[in-house]
Amino acid sequence: MLINVPETVVADALRGMAVAHPELAVDVENRVVVRRDAPVPGKVALVSGGGSGHEPLHAGFVGRGMLDAACPGEVFTSPVPDQMVRAAAAVDSGRGVLFVVKNYTGDVLNFDMAAELAEDEGVQVAKVLVNDDVAVVDSLYTAGRRGTGATLFVEKIAGALAEEGAPLEAVQAVARRVNESSRSFGVALGACTTPAKGGPTFDLPLGELELGIGIHGEPGRERRPMMTSGEIADFAVDAVLDDLAPDSPVIVLVNGMGATPLLELYGFGAEVQRALGARGTAVARTLVGNYVTSLDMPGASVTVCEVDEELLRLWDAPVCTPGLRRGC
């Protein structure tokens, strides 16, 4: 691995972000990444965070049109509330802060604590929970579905609405609508390597793939002999559309998990397009790339979000972040 020691991986990366992106204020010691022009007067602020290892999520999505601040935790471990409270105080213009939280118990609890503490300090806080992963059974008897690729859609679209000056309730409402309209499914061709462990998190023999994975090297829904890109696309699209059944066009994220070359990812994107078409789903926009990753895991995920004209307009709005950039 290209590291110094496991203990400083997150801090080292933040130091590098500070060098590469002077438009961001990177507080390495307190682990908070903030838009340099924050607080933006009159704007609702978006704050997200989570374990590290999913880059560019979340710190790479800080900038105009998306997040105002991000709080990176240890690798695959939720950040602590102090980070979110500090971030909220740094970005609140007085119109309130929306916390974008992926649905994992640790993330949920730490953000809940942070919301309580930030409100004690006079910051108005609203939350949106992202839980788009159809591979997990969602019931009263589990912690619920995991938050994965839809996090990008939520942060982009809600960020665009906030940039237009919408109030906190409206930004929260659109964020919820995006989450409810989104579903994801991921596959792994191998495990990832955490810095602390220094080896693969699970054994996946060559020539097999794991279907229905999360973004922390968790086990998937089932293991099968290797399939072609087209077969995997059909499987993923079926899993997603069996759950969502969209009537309107969708935005598609064809997301690499960290170690799959763009050459393969674009090919997979074409197969996803074909599979969606075969099921009668119109595709309004497609984004292909490594956005919500799992360290060096080879594999990909498919996220679709059913959109109307408003959501599509917000998706198309300018965004100026290290990880997602257009119209700047």
């Binding site: 935790g73 240890e74 471990t77 939720s78 950040p79 602590v80 509330p81 102090d82 118990t105 640790g106 609890l109 730490n110 809940d112 604590m113 997990v136 059974v137 009263l140 008897y141 589990t142 912690a143 968790e218």
Partner: protein, 221 residues
């Protein structure tokens, strides 16, 4: 109410600091066991997380000792929240922070106030985690313990005896999680496979209440 047989320990700032020290020691001793329980149905870090948090709390409270039992508890809670991360940081932090808040700024509190404070803390945990008794969580040790403590105090028991009853209820509550199906936290992803394992959070909760009972017992000698 009859007079207790032995002098009752004063529930003041020193008492709570001694509880923290004892809790940190017990967590140190049991860290490996807690992590083993967590590897079966979680992500194998409960012992090390608790160890990191309680060590930090013990260290910081030594440097900056607060003057009231409420302030000490709230302070420990804040340190746990700031240091642990994951799910156990906010949950244990809330337990102690809420309990500390409930004690207000009295320099010494009565057993009944301690019970009310613990109840407030447990309510805070249940609210934050959304768990009820039977979900295979900390609540399965904490709720019966507070109930047992209250029952004993209502019957005129001493603080020492009431906390001894709380400890037994917590330990029984932790063991009772073995046949339960997990409905909250990471263990819930396992569904039926969570059955047959003792919940690590209920186990560490019982350890903390055991430390409290020990400190009361020692203070009464």
């Amino acid at each position: 109410m009859t007079a207790p047989a032995s002098p009752e320990p004063a529930v003041d700032a020193l008492f709570v600091r001694r509880w923290l020290a004892e809790a940190a020691a017990v967590v140190d001793r049991e860290a490996v066991h807690l992590t083993e329980l967590d590897s079966a149905i979680g992500d194998a870090d409960h012992g090390s997380n608790m160890q990191r948090g309680f060590r930090a709390a013990a260290q910081e409270m030594e440097q900056d000792p607060a003057a009231t039992p409420g302030a000490v508890l709230a302070g420990i809670g804040r340190i746990l929240i700031s240091r642990v991360g994951g799910a156990s940081g906010p949950l244990y932090g809330t337990l102690l922070r809420r309990a500390g808040k409930a004690l207000g700024d009295a320099e010494e509190v009565a057993p009944e106030q301690l019970r009310e404070a613990l109840r407030a803390g447990v309510d805070g945990v249940a609210q934050l985690g959304g768990a009820a008794q039977g979900d295979k969580t900390m609540i399965d040790a904490l709720a019966p313990a507070v109930e047992a403590m209250g029952f004993a105090l209502d019957k005129g028991a001493s603080l020492v005896d009431a906390l001894a009853a709380a400890r037994i209820a917590a330990e029984e509550g932790a063991v009772a999680t073995v046949p339960m199906l997990a409905r909250k936290g990471r263990a819930s992803y396992l569904g039926e496979r969570s059955i047959g394992h003792q919940d690590p959070g209920a186990t560490s909760s019982a350890l903390l209440l055991g430390a409290l009972a020990d400190v009361a017992q020692d203070g009464a000698l």
